[in-house]
């Protein structure tokens, strides 16, 4: 993996991002906008599950309207994140905050799948209710914790 990181850094893409005057902050700006879309829409849905916001909206309808934005945000994050990674692949790979961030993103994905396969399967029975079953609330809470952790770990890459 370390060999791959060393090679990646030396590619023209890695060197270009690393040594550019304005490309690096431009990619960072896009990474922030992607984060706003992804974490913002995810948080709104989590708040709905917890019964803190949009209680009159059907859960399934809200999911249908928010999810495309979450995925679009995720796509932006994957591309801009990968570009930033190429510029300092070895440093990032060996950075504890970066590793925690990748682990938490993986867990957030697993968590979303578990939610989809278990709690969300009988959404029809509680779609309209303001207060949702415990499973849904726990899922919303865990998701918020994971995403706060991902954002924090990302920010801490430059400080540890």
């Amino acid at each position: 993996m370390l060999t791959f990181c060393r090679w990646l850094e030396q590619t023209s893409v890695g060197a270009g991002v690393r040594e550019s005057l304005w490309l690096f902050p431009t990619i960072e700006t896009m990474h922030l906008l992607g984060m706003a879309a992804l974490v913002g829409t995810t948080a709104v849905f989590d708040f709905r599950l917890l019964g803190w916001a949009m209680r009159r909206e059907r859960v399934s309808e809200l999911a249908g309207r928010l999810l495309p934005w979450s995925w679009a945000g995720f796509a932006v994050q994957a591309v801009t994140g990968a570009l930033l990674f190429t510029s300092e692949a070895v440093k990032a790979y060996t950075n504890p905050a970066f590793r925690v961030k990748m682990l938490l993103i993986f867990l957030a994905g697993v968590h979303a799948l578990i939610f989809h396969w278990t709690v969300y399967r009988d959404v029809a029975t509680w779609d309209d209710s303001g207060v949702l079953p415990t499973g849904a609330k726990v899922a919303g809470f865990v998701s918020i914790l994971l995403w706060v952790g991902i954002v924090a770990a990302g920010r801490f890459i430059g400080f540890v």
């Binding site: 991002v17 040594e19 005057l21 300092e88 867990l107 430059g158 540890v160």
Partner: protein, 125 residues
């Protein structure tokens, strides 16, 4: 589920305890009350985001030479100050002035650097 939450909290907690110097932070790691001034020879100049870096063997007040990392501003800022990737090179005799790391490691936030041609360059905002 609650075990997973606990595990995440432990990891984040451990993360907050980790502290060493790495790029792209504020001024908190540096002792901003006064600057230090040292002479020596450049061993490496890295023109990289998010902060450029100079490595140099500098002689401290105790007369001992150590390899210091001198952290500069962003490449955009440095360009405005008149820097390019060729401003400093390996072997240059320089005098560095900056805020040194609070933890005592040979690391400083470079305020200015005197180059062999007599020019003094600003290192960070």
């Amino acid at each position: 589920m609650s075990r997973k939450v606990g595990a995440v909290l432990v990891v984040v907690g451990l993360l907050l305890r980790v502290s060493s110097l790495w790029a792209h932070h504020g001024n908190a790691p540096f002792d901003m009350t006064h600057t230090v001034r040292m002479q020596g020879t450049v061993t490496d100049f890295q023109w990289i985001n998010p902060h450029a870096l100079i490595h140099a063997d500098l002689k401290g007040e105790n007369g001992k030479v150590a390899n210091w990392a001198l952290e500069l501003g962003s490449l955009g800022m440095l360009s405005r100050f008149g820097w390019s990737r060729n401003t400093v090179k390996r072997g240059d005799r320089v005098t560095a002035e900056g805020f040194r790391a609070k933890d005592g490691s040979p690391y400083m936030c470079l305020v200015s650097i005197d180059l062999p041609n007599g020019q003094s360059m600003r290192g960070s905002p």
